[in-house]
């Protein structure tokens, strides 16, 4: 028994060593030349050989406690790649994506990026939904001068202006935070309490929000923090409710949203909530639909429970493709981020007429396309796609534009439904 097993294990190891060595060594070296025999073709470029590939590596959290966002982003990217390949690819090159799982570890993300960079196995890298991971990896990618898109929404990693190889096709929370304050003021509230996660996005957004509150004259009654893997928030909620705020601003991460809202509602708060991002269907599922009422947020796009719900033509066409491919609507908005990212890259490749990182980077500054959440405009030179956002409010499972909701008497209905005076 022992004998057979140890032999088996050794065999397996030998196999895995060869398996591990094979892609590691051959992929970068032999794959490109072997697929397109004449090696001189790349500099010519113009011919757009059909056998060429454009390799993208992604590092996403695909397993572990906040993997839902990563998996949705993966789906969004895969869907967009399929669409792009059906429509000519990157200047005729078929796009191939290698996904890597960071398992939620920042260090693993760094190792993956180092592996990809050392192997030279990618023509571009798409970063993680977790801003922690992007922050850690961004400098290596920029040092290697590789075309890169980040998927997180934290402001931190885009603040460094020297990271010229990195772009973003998702929202920047620090731009949204002041708008959140405006929205809360528009609703007529004077005081707000903040609950923030201890991760990159959660804490940086809460800080930006707090700063905007001070500037715009909104009183922050308290700021509470919770760990990213926590599930019980009764202590924090008690402290928040003791300060009796008009509304509560939630700057949390993935899995904590659902339980937080549920416990908040169970503990008797039925008023308006403000959220740093749209309240994804995955969160609503856990919080309970009856508890996910009256959540206001500023964001480029909103989640949909079904394709029919969506009235925006471009978004709807994406949702139809997504539904056809995966049999459900995206459960997290990171699927939109993945799609937008690929579309922005595609447009850049069209403008550049080349798939070289340098040309793609130059061309991205000329990209101006319709994204899922409005115009993705990179011509301002700040490497950010979205700059205009809408205010929404989630009522009875529907994400309604705040202005529409206010003008149709929604606010009065809210007051009578909750018995609150504000």
């Amino acid at each position: 028994m022992k004998k057979i097993l140890s032999i088996l294990l050794v065999l397996m190891l030998l196999l895995s060593i060869t398996a591990c060595a094979a892609p590691k060594t051959e992929e970068p070296k032999t794959e490109e030349p072997s697929k397109q025999q004449p090696e001189t073709k790349e500099p010519e470029g113009e011919e757009e050989p059909s056998g060429e590939t454009f390799r993208i590596s992604t590092y996403l959290q695909l397993s572990g406690s906040n993997a839902e966002a990563g998996n949705n982003a993966k789906n969004g990217i895969d869907l967009a790649v399929k669409y792009i390949n059906e429509n000519g690819g990157f200047n005729g090159a078929q796009v191939v994506v290698d996904h890597y799982d960071t398992t939620g570890s920042t260090e693993e993300a760094v190792k993956i990026v180092q592996k990809v960079l050392e192997n030279k196995s990618a023509d571009a890298i798409i970063g993680s939904v977790n801003s922690n991971e992007v922050s850690a990896c961004i400098s290596y990618i920029n040092e290697a001068e590789l075309y890169n898109f980040g998927l997180g929404t934290s402001a931190t990693w885009m603040e460094d202006q020297s990271m010229i190889w990195t772009f973003r096709a998702s929202a920047n929370n620090n731009r949204i935070a002041p708008l959140d304050v405006d929205m809360i003021l528009e609703l007529g509230y004077d005081t707000v309490a903040i609950i923030s996660g201890t991760d990159d996005t959660g804490s940086s957004t809460a800080t930006a929000f707090e700063k905007a509150c001070a500037e715009k004259g909104l009183t922050v009654t308290t700021r509470q923090e919770c760990d990213t893997a926590d599930t019980d928030f009764s202590g924090q909620i008690t402290q928040i409710l003791a300060t009796d705020p008009d509304t509560i601003f939630m700057s949390l991460i993935g899995d904590t949203f659902g339980p937080f809202v549920k416990q908040l509602r169970n503990m008797g708060y039925n008023g308006m909530l403000a959220c740093k991002e749209c309240f994804s269907t995955a969160y609503q599922e856990v919080a309970g639909y009856e508890n996910s009422n009256y959540i206001a947020f500023v964001y480029p796009y909103v989640p949909y429970n079904s394709v029919e719900e969506c009235t925006i033509p471009y978004m709807r066409s994406m949702l139809e493709k997504y539904y056809a491919e995966y049999g459900k609507c995206p459960t997290h908005e990171s699927a939109y981020r993945g799609w937008d990212t690929m579309m922005a890259m595609w447009e850049a490749s069209k403008i550049a007429g080349s798939n070289e990182s340098d040309a793609l980077r130059e061309a991205t500054h000329k990209v101006k396309i319709d994204g899922l959440g409005g115009t993705l405009d990179y011509t301002k030179g700040d490497r950010e796609g979205y700059s205009a956002f809408n205010s929404f409010v989630l009522v009875d499972g529907q994400n309604i534009l705040l202005d529409e909701w206010l003008s149709s008497g929604g606010y009065e209905a809210y007051k009578t439904a909750t018995g609150r005076d504000r």
């Binding site: 760990d227 599930t231 928030f233 009764s234 008690t238 169970n266």
Partner: protein, 291 residues
């Protein structure tokens, strides 16, 4: 405010107590330590979800089925892994590591089967919330507290008053002597692990409706449950419950009166403090001695 925190602390303490009960049971009856107890909660939650939400069986039936399935998983675990290792008379660390491997397997197998989406566990009780003297909380949360207290009494009675319980304890104390007295130690440890898994599955069925069902549901509370078990006195049923409740109260009061930032750190600080200062716990369980 004090009352709200008290009730909520008791509720989350009940959860920790339920987990600590599992640890204490395993330690009392087999002298071993399991790191997979938290993930048994996850497994129980997914099993319950499968029966109740996917197969749409009545709650009582799915409860029994989950309990039974977890019991069988526990038996298999003991027979396939723990017993195999005990027979080789390896160091206890191999058993600890084996349970860690099992926890990896449960976390990742449930992910492979059910995906990464946090699933909604439908409400068990017809009323969503319950109000006791002005304090509102989820009905399942109260149920959790009541059930864990009831289980504590039952387990304690089982371990001290029944013949089988006595046999289990003696098997843990001195397997050789127990064997020579005609006690089937293999069966008694088997039942122990099965019972512990079944208790965890109950916890899973109760936590599911509260937090939703996801692959790491039990792992964080599972590790914190150790603190509860040690505070009370590792191996003592009442101690597990009391320790769990103390942990829940301290955590909630710190988060309620001071800050929630270091909430998880507190559990581990309490754990290490008790291990260093009073390893026998509040109930002075004499299981822990060394040179």
């Amino acid at each position: 405010m004090f009352k709200i925190l008290l009730i909520n602390g008791l509720i989350i303490g009940g959860v920790y107590g339920l987990i600590a009960l599992g640890y204490s049971l395993i330690y009392r009856a087999s002298g071993l330590m399991s790191f997979a107890q938290g993930d048994m909660i996850t497994l129980g939650a997914y099993l319950g979800l499968t029966f109740y939400s996917i197969l749409r069986l009545p709650f009582f039936l799915s409860f029994i089925l989950t309990f039974a399935c977890a019991f069988i998983v526990g038996v298999l675990l003991e027979k396939g892994v723990i017993r195999a290792l005990l027979n080789k008379s390896v160091l206890p660390i191999y058993i600890v590591l084996a349970t860690i491997a099992i926890s990896y397997i449960i976390q990742n197998a449930t992910q492979a089967l059910f995906g990464t989406t946090t699933l909604r566990f439908p409400q068990v009780f017809s009323t969503a919330t319950l109000t006791i003297s002005g304090i509102t909380a989820q009905t399942e949360a109260f149920a959790c507290l009541v059930i864990s207290l009831a289980l504590m009494f039952l387990l304690h009675l089982f371990m001290t008053k029944t013949k089988f319980g006595t046999a289990m304890r003696s098997a843990a104390m001195d397997p050789l002597a127990a064997e020579s007295c005609g006690i089937n130690t293999s069966m008694s440890t088997g039942i122990t692990w099965a019972l512990a898994a079944a208790i965890a599955s109950i916890a899973g069925m109760l936590l599911g409706p509260m937090y939703g069902v996801y692959t790491t549901l039990g792992s964080v509370v599972g590790r914190k449950g150790f603190a509860g078990a040690v505070v009370g006195g590792y191996g003592n049923m009442y101690g597990a419950m009391v320790g769990g409740i103390i942990l829940g109260l301290v955590e909630t009061f710190v988060a309620g009166y001071w800050t929630g930032t270091y909430k998880n750190l507190i559990a581990y600080a309490i754990l290490i403090l008790f291990l260093f200062v009073k390893p026998t716990g509040i109930f002075n369980e004499k299981a822990i001695q060394d040179v």
